[in-house]
Symmetry: C2
Subunit: 234 residues, 2 copies
Amino acid sequence: MDTPEPADGLAVTDRTRLRRHDREGSHERADLYEVLDAGFVCHLGLQTPDGPMVLPTSYGRHGDRLYLHGSVASRSLRAALDRVPMCVTVTHVDGVVVARSVFEHALNYRSAIIYGTPGVLTEPEDKRAGMHAIAEQIAPGQWGYAREPSDEELAVTTVLVLPLEEASVKVRTGPPLDGGGPDADRPVWAGEIPLRTVRLEPRPDPSLRGQVPLPPHLAGPGVAGGAPPWTPTG
Amino acid sequence: MDTPEPADGLAVTDRTRLRRHDREGSHERADLYEVLDAGFVCHLGLQTPDGPMVLPTSYGRHGDRLYLHGSVASRSLRAALDRVPMCVTVTHVDGVVVARSVFEHALNYRSAIIYGTPGVLTEPEDKRAGMHAIAEQIAPGQWGYAREPSDEELAVTTVLVLPLEEASVKVRTGPPLDGGGPDADRPVWAGEIPLRTVRLEPRPDPSLRGQVPLPPHLAGPGVAGGAPPWTPTG
């Protein structure tokens, strides 16, 4: 790479450079990994002959590589996914920031924007590693519990790998910013309404045969992070 | 438009045409609106001179128009946002589908992918309408309660408007699909782990002066949809 990269950080380029008001922006790898590890769905953007396209898809991080499930793309597009520039964005909305003026309303969030040129994996063992990373990101513990992919299944699965080199992270937390300004005396409520993604009670497949208990790895808070609001029974 | 459009539907083009296995895809306006109205953050994709870029931003739907908060873009990019092709994607992840084989794992979700060429609003009244739509999408009732934007605030706000003409909607619900296949006899749990975004207890701004009660419109389930897990006290 011909762009500067701190020893423990990510490449700072024109498009990842943080602006003055991004006070909580970061180019640290640890911050990037924290945002990525807290989710499992990204929005993958690329330019097609018909224009820009943004596809939601699942991902898994393993070390400094991001694996992307490419089968969400149409069959015609899948062939064109290899070695084209992409942008992958992961966003967690943590709350609504309610201010004294509409102008100061905001969202609390964590987001990562990653740039790079992913490759489509072709070797079965590479694809297997990618599916492993994606499966474990979504539901840790399922690999080795559910049946692993067969060679035939690997052959029809499209997995992309993106090196984590050029990225920026932004985080907003806390109350609105107009508590010290001219609107502070208005008799209106201001603050945060925190949002969180939670798991509800698992729903067994109606076609399950016999009594199969929920395994411990699915009963814990692993899926989607955060503690479940229901009482694990598995 | 030179593309076919059913009376109550959206343009079906090569890029929005649903594929055979998209059994729960739709081009109906009502389905599009339902997905859009259930959220307030989209991922906006466009091609820049440096490559594709995907930005998370807030939006508001009003009739057949989608207003997008463009101030999330860098200052240099904002000038280039007008009349360029974009793709706007809204995704709700409703659950993790746990199957008997890793290959059949899936997500339950609702997503809308919209294509078009938004315009940057320039007239103050148009911008005001856009901010109104965005504010009401995020926190219904805040417009008219919090102070409305001043002319100066409107001047420094970037709002885009995108006509809702070309879009596709996809929805996946239900259990995994391998309950009737050769893996059905495996003694492993299968089913859904539903996910939901919930509100937590509102956090008043520590700099609030005096006792300002939470207004009823913020105490209800309006923000982020869904019922709150906390007991409204406003």
